[in-house]
Amino acid sequence: MTTSQANNPLGPGYEGVAGSEMRFRDIFRDTLRAEMNRDEDVFLMGEDISGGFDKDTKEPLDAWGGPFAATKGLVQEFGVERIRDTPISEAGFVGAAVGSALTGMRPVVDLMYFDFVTVAFDQLLSNAAKSRYMFGGQTKVPLTLFARSGAGTGHAAQHSESFYSMLAHIPGLKVVVPSDPYSVKGLLAAAIRDDDPVFLVNDKKLINLTGFVPDEEYVIELGKGRYMRRGTDVTLVGMSYTSVVCQKAAEQLAESGIDAEVIDMMSLSPFDEDILIESVAKTNNVVIVDEDTPRASMSSEFAAVIADKGFDHLDSPVKRVTSPHSPVPYNSALEQAFMPQPEDIVKTVRGMLGRD
């Protein structure tokens, strides 16, 4: 399968491709392993990525195997130098990863919950993203970071954010958001092989989902979106977990005879302007769905591009379904109300098509 085919799967079960149904978390780990085998400059840092050491022997216990057991077993294969547990010092070890990337290594950093990126933000913004530019192209920063975003698990305001828009805002940084096992395999491999700093944001709600994954090695080109479902009446634009939400909404819409197309953006910076315009040219209606808060967000960015380059195709104003402009609440009913639901999308589509 070539990269371009990989970029254009119509959902799972593409005919004739060898592969299997896998859990998101398992293919994530398998991909890390494959990339570490492929390139010995790749190494991993983070808190409890093996987790725990025997007091007497000083050997790693792999008790946690990383947050959500994302890296379980890797320390046995690669050892403590390449699977490097860190103290709780995000500013320090992200900065050290940047320094190591500037001097020839390809560090991969697990930041655990996405919210903790703020502790290391200066290193990302001022050093990782700007070094190449301000030093006149002398250097590059082949750094990969990943962390878990998203509400819906009772983790409350400081462990549930989806503000990847803050990262996409930074020139010099790339941002990708897988939405299923297939996309995380291709995006993680592409991120690690890329010579620029790439942040992979992975919604917690995806971790235990399963999906079809081709056996063969592939990368997904950064900056490309894909169609998850073809349709003619309205385009639903999803990213990260909202791509799953959009597919559910499309199924509900189909029951009442509305034929929705679903785009999964996969990359947020760079992002696929062409697929947005191509789809809107066909459906003439678009709803952008994002769990990130709406001000100065990816949803506003996509809306601006569609208004600019796709205005003549539009039969109705661009609509957005997002979380409110608020932090994430703890109570589960409030949390569900915070997150975009398929019903919210259905209601918005019906309103825009005059089918209330």
Binding site: E47, G52, D85, I88, H155, Y330, N331
Partner: protein
């Protein structure tokens, strides 16, 4: 012993309340009555109790993800705490914060905090307020944090600030030996975290955090120093958490049973009981009546939390700001 009878009773009540709150809350969480993630602090009763025994509602504390013991020591109501863990409208934060964000500003409690290290400078700020208002003698800031948090840059910045500004701050490091599964010997470059204190020009001591009397004495000195305008101090309280890092964590994967048994043999509550009976300071009858009333309090707290209503969905949009002219509700 230089502790009043009332204070001794308060200490026992507080430690037993923390123990039983954590056990009850964990049981309720595993039953599915809590709405989210919960970290327990049973085993670590002595540090917050022995420190907060010297504080009033005018003093401020900053807390952590493992904050229930700090809240209880600062006098928060256990029913409102339980209701918060259950996500109810009657909870300490109306169900918006949960276990990791319980706070009560009327009691001088600056909030539990989910970002490791993030609450440390808040206690420094509270102490700065006291200094600016000239009330250091009645309003100090105590920052509780773990051995893991001691690796955050913000602790080091906060210690230096408190020292150069001579603020009434107590840095209270609860060293329970682990940050998640990571042992402190792996993550901390010195034998004792308190060794950091010297570098920032403040006294630092190691205290037996399983002995509430030792904590009480050391905290008394540090707080007196702060109230006298002599600046910050650092206390490292060696302690142990009995349960996992969070409600679903299995400690057997990274802690040895002998180690767990050893610390249970040092149990802070049992140590208190032995000491007061040996020195004839409290009768077993009195101790039992305190335990009985705490048991009843826990039954009441669970009942209150279970029977309380859920928050109205509209509260989702409340309190993002004091004032804001655009709608918060979003774009649906």
């Amino acid at each position: 012993m230089d502790i009043s009878k009332e204070k001794l009773e308060w200490i026992y009540t507080t430690m037993y309340r923390i123990r039983r709150f954590e056990e009850t809350m964990l049981e309720q969480t595993l039953k599915g009555n809590s709405m989210g993630v919960a970290h327990t602090s049973d085993g670590q009763e002595a540090p917050p109790t022995g420190i907060c025994a010297h504080l009033t509602d005018k003093d401020w504390i900053g807390s952590t993800h493992r904050g229930h013991g700090h809240c209880i020591s600062k006098g928060l109501d256990t029913s409102a705490m339980m209701a918060e863990v259950f996500g109810k409208s009657t909870g300490q934060c109306g169900g918006k914060g949960g276990s990791m964000h319980i706070s009560d500003f009327s009691k001088g409690m600056l909030g539990a905090n989910g970002i490791v290290g993030a609450s440390i400078p808040l206690a420094v700020g509270a102490a700065l307020t006291a200094k600016l208002k000239g009330i250091e003698n009645e309003s100090v800031g105590v920052s509780f944090f773990g051995d893991g948090a001691s690796s955050q840059g913000v602790l080091h910045e906060s210690m230096n600030l408190a020292s150069v500004w001579k603020l009434p701050v107590i840095f209270a490091c609860e060293n329970n030996g682990y940050a998640e599964a990571t042992p402190s010997w792996y993550a901390v470059s010195t034998e004792d975290v308190s060794a950091r204190a010297e570098g920032y020009g403040m006294p630092g001591v190691v205290v037996d955090g399983m002995d509430v009397f030792a904590v009480y004495d050391a905290a008394g000195e540090a707080i007196a120093r702060a109230r006298a305008g002599e600046g910050p101090s650092f206390l490292e309280l060696k302690t142990y958490r009995y349960h996992g890092h969070f409600h679903a964590d299995d400690t057997s994967k990274y802690r040895k049973p002998e180690e767990e048994e050893y610390y249970k043999s040092l149990d802070a509550i049992k140590h208190f009981e032995r000491t007061v009976s040996k020195q004839k300071l409290m009768t077993e009858k009195k101790l039992k009546s305190i335990r009985d009333s705490v048991e009843q309090e826990m039954l009441d707290a669970v009942e209150f939390a279970l029977s309380s209503p859920m928050p109205e969905i509209s509260t989702l949009y409340d309190d993002v700001y004091v004032n804001y002219s655009n709608p918060i509700a979003g774009l649906r």
